[in-house]
């Protein structure tokens, strides 16, 4: 088989989010608000979809030419890509590499699926506890509804 020559160039300074299940990179980008970040800073975001990976078969990868995303912010990636790795690069050197960790609580990145929940009627940012890791199950701090699977709908920032 011929090697497929498409790659994403190395970044000199920034963050690499690797080992994302194929097809999930665009969602992660929207949940993290990378589009807005790029617009505000002029930094380049590279999103690779369906790359070959020895461990995952196929994977997505995101490279962000910016170091401002904190470890806590990046841990929400674990909700969508539990095996993702984060690499921080500064001046071409890897300064930190770690796996994402599922956080105990998440903020306003998900919509409560209960239409009678106060968060769907008042201007109040959502807050959720992670009650089960697999399958990922969240509990709304306000209405106490527990939900999982397709009921977890992420707020996509454009």
């Amino acid at each position: 088989m011929n090697p497929r020559p498409i790659t994403i160039a190395k970044i000199r300074t920034g963050i690499v989010i690797d080992h994302i299940p194929a097809g999930k990179a665009l969602l992660i980008s929207k949940v993290l608000g990378l589009n807005a970040l790029a617009r505000n800073t002029g930094d380049i975001i590279a999103i690779g979809v369906n790359f070959e990976s020895p461990s995952l078969g196929n994977k997505d990868i995101i490279k962000v030419e910016n170091l401002s995303l904190s470890r806590d912010m990046l841990n929400v990636v674990a909700l969508i890509a539990p095996r993702a790795t984060i690499t921080r690069i500064e001046n071409g050197e890897v300064i930190e590499k770690h796996k994402v960790e599922v956080p105990a609580t998440v903020g306003d990145i998900v919509t409560c699926p209960d239409s009678f929940c106060v968060t769907n009627h008042e201007q109040v940012p959502g807050k959720f506890q992670v009650v089960v890791h697999t399958p990922l199950t969240l509990r709304c701090v306000y209405c106490e509804t527990e939900f999982f699977g397709p009921l977890i709908r992420y707020k996509e920032k454009v």
Binding site: F116, Y142, E144
Partner: protein, 312 residues
């Protein structure tokens, strides 16, 4: 253990020890020699965004019995909420008026939690839509303990609309905190206990010797139950009128059905009842729903006294 300044939003926030502590204080406050002066100078804000009869009246009388006062609103149509003022702002404004505690009822789930975040004063949830109504659960637990002497090792049957009734959900979760309870869920299949609560029962069965069964006929269990907790079939939740009529005729308790019950067995109901308890049950020694509703007053007195820090 101090409850002074504490919010009471959900039964899930209370440990078994805290529940026991509140229940222990009910007769203390009820029979307190200085009761009329306990809350002198204290004022409770009543924010009722939704109609209520028993909860509202009993909170008002409870505060008056303790020497305190109440203010606020019971009819949202005469407030700025009609000018689209947010819940957050409405709570903030009342918080600034010098009240000592806030009692809130709202049709949306989670509204009381949001109010507690907005307010500096303690907030008591008097019902947030179909979610929580902790003072109802506390009065249910108090009534069960009062009549059975203990909350451990009881056999409790819940009957009726178990899918939509918040009182039975909350009561189930509270009883699972105790040892060795046996829960019998009697409902039409369409109105069965939600799956997540059945899962919690299964977990408690492993951890604390609880057991549970889902069934469809009251008569099959009448001899073994300590408490028969009846609920209303909520006609507003069922699409077909015919279904409501059918369920109501099946899940109806009559005095003749109680002849083999234990002498100590009590029938409870969060009220209002419609047709699920025949009036001839009222005259039996098993009927306890009116005393139960009366206990709502004493439980709310105790909660107010604890939260306002006027008793230890």
């Amino acid at each position: 253990m101090s409850f002074q300044g504490r919010d009471i939003i959900s039964m899930n926030d209370l440990t078994r020890e805290e529940i026991d502590e509140i229940l222990t204080k009910v007769p203390v406050v009820r029979n307190h020699s200085e009761k009329k002066r306990l809350c002198k100078g204290k004022v409770s804000a009543m924010l009722f965004f939704e109609p209520s009869t028993r909860t509202r009246t009993s909170f008002e009388v409870a505060m008056r019995n303790l020497g305190g006062e109440t203010g606020g609103f019971y009819d949202v149509s005469i407030t700025s909420v009609t000018k689209q003022e947010s819940l957050w702002d409405t709570v903030k404004i009342h918080d600034g008026y010098g009240f000592d505690v806030m009692v809130i009822r709202h049709p949306l789930k989670g509204a009381a939690r949001l109010a507690a975040e907005a307010a500096r004063i303690p907030v008591i949830n008097a019902g947030d839509g179909p979610n929580q109504h902790p003072t109802q659960t506390l009065l249910d637990l108090y009534s069960i303990k009062e009549t059975q002497g203990d909350l451990n090792g009881l056999t409790i049957a819940m009957v009726g609309d178990l899918a939509n009734g918040r009182t039975v959900h909350s009561l189930t979760e509270a009883l699972l905190k105790y040892e060795g309870c046996r829960l019998i869920f009697i409902s039409p299949r369409d109105l069965a206990m939600p799956r997540f609560l059945i899962d919690k029962c299964a977990k408690a069965a492993e951890e604390r010797g609880a057991s549970f069964v889902e069934a469809s006929r009251i008569e099959d269990f009448i001899t073994e139950v300590d408490v028969l907790y009846m609920t209303r079939i909520q006609s507003e939740r069922l699409k077909e009128r015919a279904a409501v009529e059918k369920f109501r005729s099946i899940y109806r308790l009559e005095a003749s059905m109680l002849k083999d019950a234990k002498p100590s067995m009590k029938v409870m109901h969060p009220l209002p009842r419609v047709t699920e308890i025949a009036q001839d049950v009222d005259a039996t020694s098993h009927a306890y729903y009116f005393q139960q509703a009366g206990n709502g007053l004493f439980v709310r007195e105790a909660l107010l006294a604890l939260i306002l820090g006027v008793i230890e």
